[in-house]
C-alpha cells in the first residue's frame, strides 16, 4: 500500500485485488450473499478515496477491517429488502455461506434484545418485508421498523465502542 500511496499503479492494482478477495471472505460471514458484491465495491471505493489515511508504518488489514465494518453498518442501514431483493435471489437457508453469515451475525446480535435481533435478521439479512417479519414475529409492522432502527443504532454503537 505504501507504493500505491506513492502512485505505483501496478502495486495498487495488486493490493486492491488482494483487498477484494479479503473483503469477499469478510462480508460472506456478515451480510446476505446477494449484497456482498455491492458492499465490496463500496469498500474498494472508500479505500481509494481514503488511502491517504493509511499509515504505512502499520499493518494494512486492521485499517481495512475498520473501514469494512464501518461500511457494513452503512449497508445494513441502507438495505431495503422490498426493492433490492427479488424472490429469485433471496439467500437459501441450506447454503453454507448463508448459514455462516447467520451464525456470525447472531454472535454480534447477541448483544441486542431478542425483538431487535429478530427484526434485523428477518428484514435486513433475510430480505423479508416488514409485513412478513411482523407476521412471523407477532410484532406490529411499526414495531418491526422501530426495532430495526433501534437495533442498527445499537449495533453501530457496539462496533464503535469495540
Amino acid at each position: 500500500m505504501r507504493s500505491a500511496q506513492a502512485g505505483d499503479a501496478a502495486a495498487y492494482r495488486s493490493i486492491l485485488s488482494s483487498t477484494r478477495d479479503w473483503l469477499m471472505r469478510f462480508f460472506a460471514r456478515r451480510i446476505a450473499e446477494a449484497l456482498v458484491d455491492d458492499l465490496v465495491q463500496d469498500v474498494l471505493m472508500s479505500v481509494h478515496a481514503k488511502r491517504a489515511t493509511y499509515d504505512p508504518a502499520r499493518p494494512y488489514y486492521p485499517w481495512l477491517a475498520a473501514i469494512a465494518r464501518y461500511r457494513w453498518i452503512d449497508a445494513l442501514r441502507r438495505f431495503r429488502p422490498e426493492v433490492e431483493l427479488g424472490d429469485y435471489d433471496a439467500p437459501v437457508a441450506s447454503d453454507e455461506e448463508a448459514v455462516l453469515s447467520r451464525l456470525s451475525l447472531d454472535n454480534l446480535l447477541a448483544h441486542l434484545p431478542d425483538a431487535q435481533t429478530n427484526a434485523i435478521v428477518l428484514v435486513k439479512i433475510e430480505g423479508r418485508s416488514t409485513i412478513e417479519a411482523a407476521r412471523i414475529t407477532g410484532q406490529s409492522e411499526s414495531l418491526i421498523k422501530v426495532n430495526v432502527h433501534r437495533g442498527l443504532k445499537k449495533l453501530a454503537a457496539l462496533v464503535e465502542s469495540e
Partner: protein, 216 residues
C-alpha cells in the same frame, strides 16, 4: 461472473487513478494542534495578560492543579482525536474517562464547599461566570475547528467518539486560556465556571460534529 468483471473493472479504474497522495500523518496533526493551542495561549497572554500570581508562582496550589489537569486532558484528548481520524480497530482512547472523572473532582469539591459554607455561594456569581464560560468557549473554538477539519479530512470510523474527543480537547484548551487570564480570586469560580467550558464544548461537539464526520 458479471459482478466479478465489474469488480475487476473497478480495480483497473482505481489503479489507473493511482496518483500519489500525501499520507495524513498523526505527527503533523499533533504538531499543528500544538501550534494552534500555543498561539491561543500566546494571544491571551499578550492581549489580556496572564494572572500575576501565576507568573510569580504565588497562586494557590489548587489553581496549578486545575491547570495541570486541564493540560493533561488537552494533551490526551488531542492525541487521541488526531489518532481516531484513521480507520482502526481497538479502543480509541483508553483511560480518558478516568481523566475526565479526575477533572470532575474540581466542581464536586466546589459544590461540597458551598454545602459546607453556604455564605460563599456569592463567589460563584453568574455574570462573571458566564463571561468566563463564553471567553473559554471562544478560546477553544480554533482548536475544535482544527480537529473537525482534521477528522473530516481523515476517515474516522467512530464519529461520535471523535466528536467527544475533539470537544474535550477544545474545551480543555479554552479552559486553560481563561484560567490563565481570569482575575477572579475565588477558586470556586474556577472550579465551576472555568471547568464548565470542557463539558460545554464537548456536548456541543458531540451533537454538531458527527454528521460532518461521516463519509462514504
Amino acid at each position: 461472473m458479471n459482478m466479478t468483471n465489474d469488480l475487476d473493472h473497478l480495480i483497473d479504474r482505481l489503479a489507473a487513478d493511482a496518483t500519489p497522495v500525501r499520507v495524513q500523518r498523526d505527527s503533523r496533526g499533533r504538531l499543528m494542534l500544538a501550534l494552534i493551542a500555543g498561539a491561543i495561549f500566546a494571544f491571551v497572554a499578550t492581549t489580556l495578560g496572564v494572572r500575576p500570581d501565576l507568573l510569580n508562582q504565588s497562586a494557590e496550589n489548587e489553581r496549578y492543579l486545575a491547570l495541570g489537569l486541564l493540560s493533561i486532558l488537552a494533551l490526551a484528548s488531542g492525541y487521541h482525536a488526531i489518532r481516531v481520524a484513521r480507520p482502526q480497530v481497538g479502543a480509541p482512547a483508553p483511560g480518558l474517562g478516568w481523566l475526565v472523572a479526575a477533572l470532575a473532582i474540581l466542581p464536586i469539591l466546589a459544590l461540597a464547599t458551598i454545602l459546607a459554607e453556604p455564605r460563599r455561594i456569592g463567589e460563584m456569581a453568574v455574570a462573571p461566570g458566564l463571561r468566563c464560560l463564553e471567553f473559554g468557549l471562544i478560546c477553544g473554538t480554533a482548536t475544535l475547528a482544527y480537529l473537525a477539519f482534521w477528522l473530516r479530512r481523515g476517515a474516522t470510523v467512530r464519529p461520535h467518539q471523535a466528536a467527544w474527543l475533539a470537544g474535550l480537547c477544545g474545551g480543555a484548551v479554552g479552559a486553560i486560556g481563561v484560567t490563565l487570564e481570569c482575575g477572579e480570586p475565588s477558586l470556586l469560580h474556577l472550579d465551576i465556571w472555568h471547568v464548565a467550558v470542557v463539558p460545554a464544548m464537548a456536548i456541543f461537539a458531540r451533537f454538531v460534529l458527527p454528521p460532518l464526520l461521516r463519509w462514504r
